[in-house]
Amino acid sequence: MIVMGFAGLVSGCSHVPAYDQAMVSKPNMIFSESPVFDFGSKVLPRIEPGASASGGAQAAGCATCR
């Protein structure tokens, strides 16, 4: 419930026009899958079982996640 409430709070329905998105369009503001622009680890989810999205073994990675 808390998580759902938090998610709803931060998702919002606000519209920010494209001309006002210069700061949120910087490379480090985008949720990029590119390894250059993401400091996340591929190894740690295999040490931490609760950080892995999948319950099964893991493959080469999601190629189409945005």
């Binding site: 949720f31 250059v36 622009f37 740690l44 040490i47 609760g50 999205a53 999948s54 493959a59 190629a63």
Partner: protein, 371 residues
């Protein structure tokens, strides 16, 4: 070769390989492909005094009008110094190393200005983590001489399909994704008066994911992901991850992630991380980050023999830099990582050296170039 030296050698190789990408693009030029190409190479090395873990990948991305194509080839390497429990009469110390190769293909098609569909598939061969390699060595030493024992040969594949809807122009996105994977893993073994029994070898996993990405203000972008996973012989796992990026000023960006997972009967986990980026110049960025993780462990009965992991707490502190110039980008990230397990109890005593507190070093480097 010593583990650290081997890690450094692999790192050097994967930094040099991208330099040949330009030649590959010229070789494919005859196919008359156009649009924006991006070549990427990344390497992550994580090690402590008895374990070395390496993950690396080469990827190509292309956007061609309404279509997109992603290709990636991955390589993982694991090396560990297996150490049996003191009371194990069959166990011997042994260095073991294995690797894994994988291939993934992803396609994207725009249906209209606001709708996109995605599809992907991949296959891999080899061990996926050091824990499965450790357990395989344990069972090999215990039962390898018995007739019913079989050498493991892990492999798997995955298929996924997704839909992305820009429900608020340039500000709100919803993405749905369904994923199926089949994994042949290194199984466990049990022995009784009827003989040796091989555990479940093939796991089927169905995953559903819905994510919401929003530009909340001219300075804040958020991503909320909800994931449901159903795996053979496991209860359903539900997970959530929320991410928030906040441009404090034109040069400073704060990043935060909060996530967790629940799985019956008693497993739950949560984690959070933060990061602070500083644009030193127009092309150089420095980053400081930290992370905390905690779970309740996967042990259901501490008195029964089990290879399940006990409760874990981990901490990470890291420093990174990113350099972006023209069409080239480079990232270097270094961190210290600490894992602390709860006393595993008598049921997991055989794996006391697997679930031991460790202090790790993490080094990531990545390179990309666009054409």
């Amino acid at each position: 070769m010593h583990a650290e030296l081997k890690g450094a050698a692999i790192a050097l190789a994967w930094v040099l390989i991208p330099l040949s990408l330009g030649a590959q693009k010229r070789a494919l030029g005859g196919l008359n492909w156009s649009g924006v190409w991006r070549g990427e190479a990344d390497l992550e090395t994580v090690w402590c005094n008895d374990i070395l873990l390496v993950e690396s990948a080469l990827g190509f991305r292309q956007r061609l009008g309404r279509r997109g194509l992603n290709l990636s080839v991955s390589y993982g390497y694991f090396q560990l110094d297996y150490a049996p429990a003191d009371f194990d009469p069959f166990g011997i110390e042994r260095q073991r190393s294995e690797d894994r190769t994988g291939f993934q293909l992803g396609l994207l098609q725009s249906l209209s200005k606001r709708w996109e569909v995605t599809a992907s598939g991949g296959v891999y061969h080899g061990y996926t983590d050091h824990r499965s390699l450790w357990l395989d060595e344990y069972y090999r030493q215990q039962f390898g001489n018995l007739e019913d024992y079989e050498e493991s040969d892990p492999w798997g594949y995955n298929l996924s399909a997704g839909l992305r809807w820009e429900y608020i122009p340039s500000s709100g996105f919803i993405q749905l994704q369904a994923l199926f994977s089949r994994d042949d893993v290194a199984p466990g073994y049990e022995i009784d008066f009827d003989g040796l029994f091989r555990g479940t070898e093939t796991l089927y996993t169905w995953t559903g994911r819905i994510s919401f990405e929003n530009v909340l203000t001219s300075r804040i972008r958020s991503l909320n992901e909800f994931i449901i996973t159903d795996t053979t012989d496991r209860e359903i796992r539900s997970a959530y991850q929320g991410s928030l990026n906040w441009a404090l000023t034109r040069r400073w960006v704060a990043r935060a992630v909060l996530g967790g997972a629940l799985e019956k009967p008693e497993f739950d986990a949560y984690y959070f991380s933060f990061g602070l980026d500083f644009d030193c110049t127009s092309s150089l960025l420095f980053s400081f980050s930290g992370r905390y993780y905690s779970d309740t462990g996967e042990i259901e009965d501490a008195l029964l023999f089990s290879s399940a992991a006990p409760a874990l707490e981990s901490y990470q502190l890291g420093l990174g830099l990113r350099w972006v110039k023209n069409l080239y980008s480079f990232k270097l990230f270094v961190a210290r990582y600490f894992t602390r397990y709860e006393d595993p109890g008598i049921g997991v005593a055989s794996f006391v050296n697997l679930y031991r507190d460790r202090n790790w070093t993490i080094v990531q480097c990545a390179f990309s170039k666009e054409w």
